[in-house]
């Protein structure tokens, strides 16, 4: 019988759930692996080089800043995740200095100058992407054809994303035609798998291709399916909740459906519902960027407002704006007002029932 162990005294609770910050970060990284694998499959080995470089630079910068501030945050997983997200947000053909620069900017400027993990107001990966996008717009918006469409897709078409192509066509005065028709007119190819699926399901072949990931685009954003698989994993792990992704996508899809046809002269309810969800960086943005804990509201109510706001701005920038980057800019904009949302959107306090509020109101009168 041992009687005099060394005892620890601390405040309750004396139990803790098996969870930690780094565990969350690594789970999110794991959830991005399907999208990464698909990106490497369709865009080749260079895509892997881009992502690996982004991660390496992010972690080196994190390490150096940690040395400077005498904090060891390298293995909390956040720098790995930021680097991975920067990489997935790059075109596979981008010159290698760009992802390096984006990662360095993300970690140094967007994260550490505001106080490091938990203190930044903007999603670091997004800030990094927006920084290099507006600095090096041409290389950032030139893409290569995915392996699955390589033979059918001439370079001229491959260099633009479907969204970009439609935008250019509408800006050029193509009226009365929906996005899918415009793509077809411009000779955008579809895979034979998508064509046969389209014939049997009634969905448009382009919609199916964007869902599966047979389009030109950034490494991690092309396959909606791979991203959704990752997001479902996070939902099962209870790391992700539906609040932001669902409200974001629903508001964008509904607004696109009702008003999306206006710029191309199709009138109200002339827009397309599904293509708006699967194209561009929407899936990656809605599932993995907007949902960044640090830069999104903390309460469920606030998250719903945040999601709807993201959807609204994305709709606005996509259909009425002159520049690409609708998703990134929308999320950054909502990041800005997150502290305000947090200030006003508090959960209902226990006991603060309608009857109590009514009584308090009457007492005032």
């Amino acid at each position: 019988m041992r009687n005099e162990p060394t005892l620890t005294v601390s405040s309750s609770p004396h139990l803790h759930e098996k969870s930690s910050t780094s565990q969350i970060m690594y789970h999110v990284c794991l959830a991005l692996v399907p999208a990464l694998l698909w990106g490497v499959y369709v865009f080749g080995f260079r895509a892997l080089v881009v992502v690996a470089l982004s991660i390496a630079v992010a972690m080196v910068v994190e390490y150096l800043l940690g040395r400077l501030y005498e904090e060891s945050t390298l293995w909390d997983g956040s720098a790995l995740l930021t680097g991975l997200l920067v990489g997935l947000n790059m075109s596979p053909s981008v010159p290698l200095f760009i992802p390096a620069l984006a990662s360095a900017f993300a970690i140094f400027v967007a994260k550490w100058t505001f106080g490091g993990l938990g203190a930044n107001w903007a999603n670091p990966a997004l800030a990094g992407r927006v920084f290099v996008f507006f600095s090096f717009t041409t290389p950032m918006s030139s893409f290569v054809a995915p392996r699955t469409l390589a033979s059918a897709m001439p370079d001229a078409i491959a260099s633009a994303t479907p969204l970009g192509l439609v935008k250019t066509a509408v800006a050029g005065g193509a009226m009365g035609l929906d996005a899918n028709t415009l793509l077809a007119q411009n000779g955008y190819p579809a895979t034979s798998l998508a064509q046969s699926l389209a014939a049997s399901t009634g969905f448009n072949a382009y919609t199916i291709d964007t869902f599966l990931g047979n389009v030109a685009g950034c490494i991690g954003e092309v396959s909606a399916l791979a991203l959704i698989i990752g997001a479902l994993y996070l939902m099962i792990r209870k790391i992700l909740t539906w609040h932001i992704p669902v409200t974001y996508m629903a508001s964008l899809a509904i607004l696109s459906w009702i008003f999306g046809g206006l710029p191309s002269g199709l009138g109200s309810f002339g827009g397309l519902f599904f293509p708006s969800l699967f194209s561009g960086g929407l899936m990656l943005g809605a599932l993995f960027m907007a949902t960044d804990y640090v830069t999104s509201p903390i309460s469920r109510k606030g998250q719903v407002i945040f999601g709807v706001g993201c959807g609204f701005f994305t709709f606005l920038f996509r259909y009425f704006g002159g520049m690409p980057e609708a998703v990134s800019v929308s999320i950054l904009l909502m990041n800005v007002i997150t502290p305000t949302i947090d200030r006003y959107m508090k959960p209902r306090k226990f006991g603060d029932t309608r009857a109590v509020r009514k009584a308090a109101k009457e007492a005032k009168v």
């Binding site: 162990p5 060394t6 405040s11 803790h16 565990q23 469920r300 947090d342 306090k349 029932t353």
Partner: protein, 435 residues
């Protein structure tokens, strides 16, 4: 399908770990060599010592007198001699006077004079409960006679018995329900009479299905007007706010009492003490305590006199099987860690836990994940309160309802950054109150 009742907002699901002591019947502790009976075993002002060094005391004799409205009498658990009056530090860090008693070799027979409580009036019942020094035994130790005194102009429509025992490890209430169900239920009937409550509900979590079945059987056999309700397992359901939401679907507003929503809540162990106090004039001088945890050699539910030292309880349960990292009085979620094995047992000491070392996880900055907000049963924003207190903004924290925090620990339990949220709130409350 019938929906299993529980409270709706927040809550967490810690592993219940009751298996260590759950099947151990209550055992009486052999008389310890010395008892340290603290004079502050309840919420409110400490009792005043009625005995001095060298005095002899009889079992059940009053040795400390209540010193205010919210206070309670203290009785000697044994017949013996007062060795000294000295300062003692309790498990919850309260420092108070204690009467140290050396028990007599021969304790004599326990005299039993049964009184028929049904013949007593409300006022007589409450007076007897006060006289016997009964306090809430779930941990809060609020004097029972204060709780059961309902002003004439107020109406109570339900008396709710708390058999939830939502804290992991603890099994003392469970053993009471299994072994002393009839007495405890009669205690509930006494409370209902004292509070003029027409309805009695016993809430028990569904991880104690056998206790629910047993209580139901007793209720049926004796024909008591008592409802036994099974509740979905969720921490902190044993808090009176959450229990009333679960059983009656009523929410107690901030700063109000159960009385304000027409209910009174009392722990099932307290009901048993009340029954014994009223029927046998037995003061609250002993209680059932679960001595359990991974590091206890033979976990047990022990009926021990108030004033028993922790070291005596540990010795009775075979000591430690492995070195514990911490000793806790009460449950692991809200209980107090202490280090002195001379710490005495008090009326609210429901469990003695010896917990193994925890896996060390590095504390990180708050990442705003919102798990604390989702877990808070009161609807507070723990992450925000933490930041405010951390920055010394006590007033801001008060304005954001810091005082409504019950320190249940749900937020700190789920925090992936491993922030000491409850610790910060306790500090914030103390410093904020001072201003």
């Amino acid at each position: 399908m019938h929906k299993v009742p529980t409270f709706s907002k927040g809550g967490v699901h810690p592993d219940d770990k009751k298996v260590f002591s759950r099947f151990q019947a209550i055992e009486r502790l052999p008389m310890p060599g010395e008892l340290v009976v603290a004079l502050s075993q309840h919420l409110g002002s400490p009792a005043k010592a009625l005995k001095a060094k060298g005095d002899t005391v009889a079992r059940g004799e009053k040795i400390g007198e209540a010193s205010g409205f919210i206070s309670a009498d203290i009785h000697s658990p044994v017949s013996g001699v007062v060795k000294e009056i000295r300062k003692v530090t309790l498990a919850n860090s309260v420092i108070c006077d204690a009467v140290v008693i050396t028990p007599d070799e021969d304790q004599g027979e326990e005299k039993v004079v049964a009184v028929d409580w049904t013949k007593l009036s409300e006022a007589e019942l409450v007076a007897q409960i006060k006289e016997m020094g009964i306090v809430g035994m779930g941990g809060a130790t609020f004097p029972a006679h204060v709780k059961l005194t309902i002003p004439r102009d107020r109406k109570i429509d339900a008396f709710v018995v708390n058999g939830v025992e939502c804290e992991p490890y603890l099994t003392s209430d469970y053993r009471v329900m299994m072994e002393k169900a009839d007495e405890a239920l009669q205690g509930a009937l006494i409370c209902a009479k004292a509070t003029r409550a027409p309805r009695i509900i016993v809430g028990v979590e569904l991880n104690k299905k056998d206790a629910i079945a047993h209580l139901k059987a007793v209720v049926e056999e004796k024909g008591y007007p008592i409802e036994v309700v099974g509740l979905k397992v969720k921490y902190p359901q044993g808090d009176e706010k959450q229990l009333l939401k679960a059983t009656l679907n009523r929410e107690i507003p901030s700063g109000k009492l159960p009385l304000d929503v027409g209910a009174v809540v009392s722990n099932i162990g307290t009901c048993l003490a009340i029954y014994e106090a009223v029927t046998f004039s037995k003061p609250l001088y002993e209680r059932v305590v679960s001595v359990t945890g991974e590091c206890i050699a033979n976990p047990k539910n022990v009926l021990a006199p108030v004033g028993t030292k922790v070291s005596d309880l540990l010795a009775f349960c075979g000591g430690f099987s492995s070195d514990p990292e911490r000793l806790v009085s009460g449950g692991p979620m809200m209980g107090f860690a202490f280090f002195d094995q001379e710490t005495p047992l008090t009326k609210g000491f429901s469990g003695l836990l010896a917990l193994p070392p925890k896996k060390k996880v590095k504390r990180t900055a708050c990442i705003n994940c919102g798990r604390c907000v989702a877990a808070c049963p009161i609807g507070l924003m723990p992450a925000q309160l933490y930041r405010l207190v951390d920055h010394g903004e006590y007033e801001g924290a008060m304005n954001n309802s810091l005082m409504d925090c019950k320190e249940c620990g749900s937020c700190a339990f789920v925090c992936p950054a491993h922030l000491p949220l409850v610790h910060m709130f306790k500090t914030g409350k103390k410093l904020g109150r001072k201003k």
